[in-house]
Symmetry: C2
Subunit: 156 residues, 2 copies
DNA sequence: TATTGTTATACTCTATAACTATA
DNA sequence: TATAGTTATAGAGTATAACAATA
């Protein structure tokens, strides 16, 4: 029992270098970004998760609920209610489109497109600030690495 | 009204490349990691946020609440109750240490050290899986970039 | 029977603000 | 008065499971 209160603290000191632990770095950077974005985007009346849905749909629409959930990494049950709220606020519309009657197609309304587009300059600023001091080649390499990490994590 | 249902969808198609938007990539990679870790670490009886506290303290202890909050990016009010829960579970101990009577020093108990150390192999596996296919130099560069991004975001 | 999406529940996280105690 | 930490409350996210409708 090497390890109590006052004396031997090596077991903790011994080994864990949090500052170079990838999950820590990833979470830390992501959290700082989310906090800043949450504060700014609230003034625009759009919560972070709502912006994620808007951004996903700005990038491609319409999308089914399951596609949208995968793209935004938002839980399906959460997304269902989130989309309901956004529907009430007139940002998106739900429609059952043709082929498979179970599927729901989500689409931006005119207002949703306008609000989403209005946030793009802010998004651009975040992109630029985050990558300040990066050369274009570095930025590309960094993003590619993030994608590789994402794919690698599939194997967990 | 350029932008409804069927016809003109350029405004959305026009411009937003989510797949290369840094905040998106960062959140996506972080979320996938968090989801996988949450599932696995629950079997060990330790929630993700609890692991973050353990890891921070394994890396350096004792720490004050505010240090711990900064290191884990966990909100202070959340952290306060989280630490209370962990105290009840015998993982950490709170102590008011000397100099400034307002400060609270958090420390791992013997059990906390044991549980934390027991999770290190799992942490190592995550690190390795996430960085599969990276050369050591790439991994180092990637982590340095993450740190730069984190620092850049301070300016937002 | 399997899949897509919704709803219910209970728990946790977050944000704000009010509070205690130290300084 | 300012700071470190706690607590209260309300709103939002998450996990599980149950459910409806469709396939």
């Amino acid at each position: 029992m090497a390890v109590t209160g006052d004396c031997a603290r090596e077991p903790a000191a011994e080994m864990f270098d949090l500052a170079n632990f990838l999950p820590y770095l990833l979470n830390r950077a992501g959290a700082r970004l989310a906090i800043a974005w949450t504060q700014e985007s609230r003034q625009l009346g759009v919560a972070l998760q709502e912006w994620r849905v808007l951004a996903a749909l700005l990038s491609r629409q319409p999308q089914r609920m399951s596609e949208l959930a995968a793209m935004t990494t938002i839980d399906r049950t959460t997304l269902s209610r989130l989309v309901s709220r956004m529907e009430e606020n007139g940002l998106v519309s739900r429609g059952r489109s043709g082929e498979d009657g179970r599927e729901v197609q989500i689409e931006l309304t005119e207002k949703g497109v306008k609000v989403g587009n209005g946030m793009l300059p802010l998004a651009g600023r975040y992109e630029n600030t985050a990558l300040e001091g990066f050369t274009p080649a570095e930025a590309r390499a960094f993003k590619d690495m993030l994608k590789r990490v994402f794919d690698n994590l599939d194997r967990l």
